[in-house]
């Protein structure tokens, strides 16, 4: 079917476009982009007043399948992704069993083909069973479709193993994504170590635990020539380390989550377990440093770290609650509200952080609407006011600290391969 997206503002930083334009889609690909295109029998969708962007990719989600399907499945997680404006998601391998072999990669891709609403890009484990001891079969997983390697949920604690992973992953030109946490410094920590942890009497998780691992990873990336990606970066110091490493030509990239840019550790006051996340919410100065790193180009991607948990699992004593927050259905609104309307970055930069940026990290031929590209499109209404209603999430879980927040801006339509998978205009 031929589809013509009309009258929108087209924002595609990869192609250098920002202005009125029509997009013609045929056979799942973009075939033409011009100021105006005659319908010529195509099905027209009038997007007057809205913004058309290359499809957003969330490069860090937890789909919980296989193993914890009561929290999320590939079907519900990808439905949440579509509802949130994402045309693709990379899923982390800390499932049960973990994605540490070709067979589990194939299982995930098969489930995504059968039940997924948007494409799923599996991330394979760095180490067998995420034990941090021996390399997992990276090559076999890459052949099966893995788009990167990570022991996410856990750091790669051994510097020796991290070195081998960065060396070995170069065969496939895929990144090693590290959850940066020096375990002996974190040990039992549940919130950022500082004034708030002291007041609440909760075990602290110092920012330096992240900084040390980011430093180590950068040094190893430099030594090996491998590509390291810093997952869910949360400290100002880490952002500074990445900035200077990039300036020295080291192959390091990083992502920041919407919750770390919208919240600080004060959100934990009152012991709300929905504000318990990993890494923890940091100080206002860290938040400001992350915003600066987003604005100056240090940050490559915004990723949600969508971590669904059943309500019963979060409704326990704070220290016993699992870490994590759902993010797929709030991310775009938070970013539009805080980053674009908040004057931190222009819209084009946000679009880059959500499309071309993650595509580059994962080596995906996505992130642009140039003719010939896959017709993955996210449509934004910059001024729509949304009230976060966790009860209406497509995700199976609703663990969000943003419940009841009113935000300006929303993703209102999601198109994957030329098919409209979500339409809330």
């Amino acid at each position: 079917m031929t589809l013509l997206l009309r009258n929108a503002r087209l924002v595609d930083p990869e192609a250098g476009w920002d202005g009125p334009g029509d997009v013609l889609i045929d056979g799942g690909r973009v075939t033409r982009v011009a100021k105006t295109i005659a319908p010529d029998g195509a099905k027209e969708i009038d997007l007057g007043g809205l913004v058309v962007c290359p499809g957003f990719i969330d490069m860090h989600v937890h789909l919980r399948e296989p193993g914890q399907e009561w929290k999320e499945t590939i079907a519900t997680g990808t439905r949440a992704a579509a509802a949130g404006g994402f045309t693709g998601v990379a899923c982390m391998p800390n499932t049960e069993p973990p994605i540490d072999s070709r067979s589990v990669v194939e299982f995930v891709l098969a489930q995504a083909r059968l039940h997924g609403v948007v494409p799923v890009y599996p991330i394979g484990c760095v180490s067998k069973a995420q034990k941090g001891e021996e390399l997992a079969e990276m090559g076999d997983m890459a052949l099966a479709g893995a788009r990167g390697f990570s022991d996410d949920g856990k750091p790669v604690a051994s510097a020796g193993l991290m070195r081998r992973a960065l060396e070995y992953a170069q065969i496939f030109d895929l990144p090693v994504i590290d959850h940066c946490e020096e375990p002996t410094l974190v040990k039992g920590g549940v919130v950022h170590e500082g004034e708030i942890s002291t007041r609440l009497g909760l075990a602290g998780w110092p920012g330096v635990a992240e900084d040390i691992m980011v430093s180590r990873d950068i040094l190893l990336a430099e030594a090996t020539g491998g590509a390291v990606h810093i997952a869910h970066m949360s400290t100002g110091r880490a952002a500074g380390l990445v900035r200077s490493a990039k300036a020295s030509g080291i192959r390091v990239t990083c992502e920041v989550t919407p919750h770390h840019i919208a919240l600080t550790d004060e959100a934990v006051l009152g012991y709300d377990a929905d504000a318990k996340m990993n890494p923890p919410l940091r100080r206002p100065t860290d938040r400001e440093a992350l915003l600066a790193a987003i604005a100056d180009g240090t940050v490559d991607a915004i990723a949600t770290d969508h971590a669904p948990h059943h309500a019963d699992e979060k409704c326990v004593e704070f220290s016993r609650a699992p870490f994590g927050v759902v993010g797929l259905e709030t991310a775009v609104s938070i970013c539009l509200d805080r980053l674009v309307h908040g004057g931190i970055v222009p819209l084009a930069r946000l679009v880059e952080l959500l499309s071309a940026g993650p595509a580059r990290v994962l080596r995906l031929a996505k992130g642009s609407l140039k003719p010939g590209s896959d017709a993955d499109v996210t449509v934004l209404d910059l001024d729509r006011e949304v009230k976060v209603d966790a009860g209406r999430f497509a995700s199976k879980s609703s663990n969000t600290p943003f419940r009841g927040w009113t935000l300006r801006g929303a993703a209102v339509m999601t198109i994957v391969g030329g098919h409209v998978v979500h339409d809330a205009r």
């Binding site: 170590e193 500082g194 004034e195 708030i196 942890s197 002291t198 007041r199 609440l200 009497g201 909760l202 075990a203 602290g204 110092p206 009152g270 012991y271 019963d312 409704c315 326990v316 004593e317 704070f318 220290s319 016993r320």
Partner: protein, 314 residues
């Protein structure tokens, strides 16, 4: 005047007036312990659940005695008898307890914020009897009562709190209370046992015990939990005692009429030497005695009583 909240979750939310109200009310109840019949009918017909998820003898006995002296019916739940050990969640336990229609739940729990969790999800007034490393409000109130008893007031005093501040709910509640009431508080311990942001609670911080207790009106020693040894917070108990143990010699640096406090149970020869614990300056047993009166006052006020009525009730 009455308390503003139906719960006592910590000292941090209390106003100075509320603290004064509780302390003044406790004065009225403290004389009951000296009477032949140590009981008043104030809470007759009320049921209090003492829900102790973390073991405690001293605090639980003190609450139980306070409840009995107010003629309330007490129900004791402890870890070994509660269904939590069978995997029941805290929320389900709360629902089951509430199904028995108690008037108060007194909770001791090893996790910070557990009383706040119960207060948020339940409908019964909650009294925090110690939550993790967060707060132990009735301990701070009984400490304040004891200080007032010996010093007349709290304002203007120098109070040194020495020991494992990092893991101490007693220290946190005391800092909140004493700072609110106008005392100068100095926290002292090895840097490994001082929390990040310690100064932000309004107290000064030092690692040198001599400096901490110099001219102090009150020296409050904290218990060293022996399991901390495995955490590597300090090399040996011997070294800890040498640097942070309170002995008679050190105590001479404090004000002449200084009092020595300890929330108990004490480790003799570690944080406090036996002769100091048993010496003239020690008010450790007064703290235990006063604990009952303070807890009676808390229960009474949360039940809706006001201070002026205490005399009539008696």
């Amino acid at each position: 005047m009455k308390l503003l909240s139906p719960h006592l979750l910590g000292i941090e939310p209390l106003t100075p007036d509320e603290i004064t109200l509780i302390l003044d009310t406790a004065v009225g109840f403290s004389s009951i312990a000296t009477r032949e019949i140590k009981k008043v009918p104030t809470l007759r017909g009320k049921t209090v659940v003492n829900f102790f998820v973390e073991p405690s003898t001293r605090t639980r006995s003190s609450f139980e005695l306070a409840e009995k002296r107010l003629s309330a019916d007490s129900l004791n739940f402890s870890t070994s008898t509660s269904s939590l050990v069978k995997g029941e969640t805290l929320l389900d336990t709360l629902r089951n307890l509430e199904a028995m229609a108690p008037d108060f739940i007194v909770i001791r729990h090893g996790e910070a914020g557990a009383p706040h969790f119960l207060a948020k999800h339940g409908r019964t007034p909650i009294i925090n009897a110690g939550d993790g490393a967060h707060e132990h409000p009735t301990q701070a109130l009984l400490d304040a009562f004891t200080i007032r008893q010996h010093k007349g007031a709290l304002s203007g005093l120098k109070v040194a709190i020495v020991g494992d501040i990092l893991h101490s709910r007693v220290a946190r509640s005391n800092v909140h209370l004493l700072v609110k009431m106008g005392a100068e508080v100095v926290l002292c311990g090895p840097p490994t046992l001082l929390p990040a942001g310690g100064k932000t609670l309004g107290a000064a911080v030092t690692h040198r015990m001599d400096a901490a207790i110099e001219g102090a009106d009150v020296v409050m020693m904290l218990r060293i939990q022996l399991e901390r040894m495995s955490g590597g917070f300090f090399p040996t108990l011997r070294e800890y005692a040498a640097f942070y143990g309170l002995n008679a010699d050190r105590l001479k640096r404090a004000a002449k009429d200084a009092i020595v406090m300890h929330p108990g149970p004490i480790n003799r020869g570690v944080e406090i030497m036996g002769d100091v614990a048993d010496g003239e300056a020690s008010v450790i047993l007064d703290q235990v005695t006063n604990g009952v009166a303070v807890r009676m006052a808390v229960l009474y006020l949360l039940a809706g009583g006001d201070r002026d009525a205490v005399a009539q009730e008696r």
